[in-house]
Symmetry: D2
Subunit: 341 residues, 4 copies
């Protein structure tokens, strides 16, 4: 930590702060600058208490952290990329690219079966589909709940797909985990730490979406919660952030993918469907995500988007999903170390 004093601070006040620094377990190193005095507080900031509360004192101008507030997710702590299987043999990380696809919501057996059949025919082995849906309006479709989970289990049994599905509340954890190969934490719950802790304890892989106003630092700190509480198989998912631009639903932040790939050893995937909010942009954004170095994609597809219960505008007709995959494959082959699935 660097502690910057206001100009003309008395020696007495500086001494007082030096003692505070020592009290908190750091070693103070004093630098007298041109117009300001600075203390370098030496110690491990990651696991230690922050000194930022000193900022409140009248003689302090600011306190600047030097280290990040996470450790277990960092490349410094764990140099090699983390890789693991989703379901039976669908590897992600360390050069393996994972494609996840399916409808936004599970709506009924026919819809889910058609979508699953279509993605499987396109070579995709991991199905997404929401049984519990967080919706902005209480009057919108809220998901089928347990009935949706049962339908996902049917698809798993029939097509051998692995399942990714969202978890929105602690009481559903057990039931969702009974079906899911990956537990999805949605953007609105990215910093719902209570949910993160509970989900982490299950020890199923977790897909952690970045929140709409979550910095990369906060996103990684949320992933740190997961690891601290027992989940080592975490997939980070960038899905767009809130900005002033309204040509798209969110602004896909592919720089964040590149930053996260450098900062952490965890696999990072991209959701171009929610970011765009419109189907015509899903293909170019999916390509950009592959090129920037993502370890996978999660894409929405639906047999009849115009009849979808949620997020209709961004779902690819599942009959066209094969063509979509054909467009992506050469790029996956070029950009990933190992060939596309």
């Amino acid at each position: 930590m660097i502690i910057v004093f206001k100009p003309n601070t008395s020696d007495e006040d500086i001494k007082f702060i030096e003692n505070k620094v020592i009290e908190h377990g750091y070693v103070p190193k004093l630098i007298h600058g041109e117009s300001r005095t600075v203390i370098g507080a030496v110690g491990d900031e990651t696991m230690h208490e922050s000194l930022e509360m000193l900022q409140t004192l009248p003689m302090i101008e600011k306190v600047i952290p030097i280290q990040k507030r996470y450790k277990l997710v960092s490349r410094e702590y764990h140099g090699d990329p983390t890789a693991f299987a989703v379901g039976a043999g669908n590897m992600i990380g360390a050069g393996d690219f994972l494609m996840i696809a399916g409808p936004c919501s599970v709506e009924n057996r026919e819809q889910l079966d058609t979508a699953t059949r279509d993605i499987v025919a396109s070579g995709v082995k991991v199905l997404r589909g929401g049984a519990y849906k967080p919706r902005t309006s209480p009057y919108d479709f809220q998901g089928l709940g347990q009935e949706g989970l049962d339908l996902l289990q049917e698809m798993k049994d029939k097509y051998g797909v692995a399942i990714v599905t969202e978890i929105v509340g602690v009481p559903h954890v057990e039931d969702v985990a009974a079906v899911a190969d990956v537990l999805q934490i949605g953007a609105r719950n990215c910093q719902n730490y209570h949910l993160l802790e509970t989900v982490a304890a299950v020890n199923t892989p977790v897909l952690l979406k970045r929140g709409m106003a979550t910095t990369v630092q906060e996103w990684l700190a949320a992933a740190e919660y997961l690891i601290v509480h027992g989940c080592e198989r975490v997939i980070l998912c960038e899905r767009g952030i809130r900005t002033f631009e309204n040509a798209t639903r969110s602004t896909l932040d592919l720089s964040a993918v590149a930053v996260a790939k450098r900062e952490t050893h965890l696999p990072v995937i991209v959701d171009p469907s929610h970011a765009a909010g419109r189907v015509d942009l899903v293909l170019p954004l999916a390509k950009a995500a592959i090129a920037v170095g993502a370890d996978g994609l999660i894409v929405e597809t639906h047999p009849t988007p115009a009849e979808a219960c949620s997020d209709a505008a961004q779902q690819i007709p599942s009959a066209d999903f094969g063509v979509f995959m054909d467009e992506l494959r050469p790029l996956i082959d070029l950009c990933c170390r190992k060939p596309a699935q």
Copy 2:
């Protein structure tokens, strides 16, 4: 809803959409424009299904909602301002201004007792204090939990203050509700709909903070969840949004207070402490909040901010709280219909 076709859409495609509109319970009204055809879909959009999924069809350029996606919170539905008591006789709404103060976190008996004594001496009758704290890093202080709730109960018994405290997870609802006069939903949980539904069922007043990337529309839709699920006594709280500006922790959006006061009948208060993130701005922002028409304030104060476990930089020393209140009172008297408490 207004449905805008792409230029040169065939009559057949227009007919197809007209039928879709009818299927969803709306009456289609056709307008042929200069370069585009438009359908006005007549019907109650609030409680009805949205037609936005039509946007996915190739002949549609966009679908524009006319009505908002909430009803019970709106002034259109409920013209008079909602007013109610917090604890015994501390009214909020319809001209009554409510001041809430206290430390960010409950840390120990001495800290909480001093803070409470100081705010009560300043004329404040509602105490805030976090027993469960959502923190960005898993290595930061997470709150005292049940021990914190017990200390809040002690203050209630000793000083007669009403209690506002945050709820971060469904399993704590019962215990928190046993102590709290107002259940606080924090910014990170503003769109945690599962938590909102559970908390609403308790029928204790709820203070709903706006999320960091939540639009006013989404914030009001979150309040709609509370009313739909049984909680009629909702306090909205603006606490700053995420923007590019970093001179302050968040950007306090006082326009949102003015907008919310026009759109809804619910009381709206402001948290200048979290917005600013620095103590020197709390007074001017508190004044601005009163002037813009807020129904109350929630302000952080601590006996010794430089030793606080969380958010130290933004807490007013509680010994100075009387002076702070003295600065605000003339403004409250001028701007509220009824005199300050």
Copy 3:
């Protein structure tokens, strides 16, 4: 400047950087931390070259400036608030509150005369009105140009008002300065440094609007350009920033007013009309601006807003301006050191 090395940097690399620091005129002070080594580079950062280019070297993690990049605008350099007259005897700063009002654009003699008459009758002595308008679409009304300036001169002669008008291009500087008592730099030109330099040379007071994506630091650095190039009478004007919220045209950032009042000695005013973009919010936001400590307001008013050539939705009918002022006066009296004009 604080220079942070990556973990495990060699002594040779640290020595190399120490020499670089010395080359640039700073004195290096070394601190060996827990996981990282840090150099404190001592020297006056304000007028010196930045060391941020060192960030590009492979052994450097980051370079953190300690001082701000402006000097002449700062309170550290100039402790007392700057105050000056706009036109004849309309003081601003150091407790004097200045009200500026008038139509968005000058449209014709009748419109401008009615608006001027109405604001003068309300006690306002400074008229705003655009002769040159920066408009998003080339098909929108671009202002009357010289004819508009002539009409402003007529009002000055007839009513004795001082004139504030915008300057959008270097070729107009002389003609605008012949009429204007204050030269306005609009939000889109806040960082048009070439225009700032040219306008500063005229030595007429300048009203510098904050850009829509300009941080407070950058805004003050833009003001530093004005002072460096000869203009000492600068008025800062907050008019809202771009955020994700669309209930208002921009998000009025009143914290920025409070920050600017602390950082600089210059007067700071607020434009609630452009921020809100809707007339019903202008009064509450004007009140909030006064309460937060602004030194003045610039408000749009028009005889017949529904016929305005630009920004119609945010202009107060000028016949109602007296009522508007009556609402503000008690607050100005309460919040400013000297009574309202």
Copy 4:
């Protein structure tokens, strides 16, 4: 335009608005909805006056434009992609990919000569370099001015490269245009309409960077200014927008590239250097830009970045530029219709 009335508007008020709509040259079409009445105002909104000023009237809830506020830049108006040469034979658009590279600022002959030699050796034929630099602080290096232009001319003569250089003020237009093959409008001047009009009149190709808070709609409207004032050869350049995220200097908005490619016939390129602000992200972002469908890139490279006068942290060492290009070429070959230069 769609004009939405407030609930319970009288027939008289509706009649009044119908007449207003007719006065402005539109044909009103009335729809009586469930809770609101709506007028569809039929007419060409692009070239016509907006009706948004009606929003100011007490009976109007909102006015919603249906068409965009630009025409000449749109695909609707001009279906085929625009393609043209930059300098002698360096095509851009319609499948031709253009690479532009060079230092942020022209600093001296040796620096510029080395950078030019290195990019030419890497197969790049278009040199960028700033002679006039818009800098946030008046104490930062402001560019060599005419001396910089002379050095760019030397490189043109010696290496046969085409020149892209920024123009920051109207008085420099002639001198810059004498050297430049493409006139660059920087992000801070994207909505400096006066400069756009002057530059457009020269009839040299213009590279228009998107402003930091400019929506895609506003960016295209700025390009419309260029075409309206005589410049048909416009290159759009996305360079990142301002958001809350600070891991990167700006947030590169690649969705905006995909949107702009659909909305307009103009070529769209990407500046990954300014967006990232750090050299380690330039390669992945450049790849993503190619994959999303950009028509070219503008990348910063410098012989010795650690000694650069501006933006050091984001410049690739020019000795490494050949390796950088080798990484991009297979992707350009895959994603563009025609092979990379």
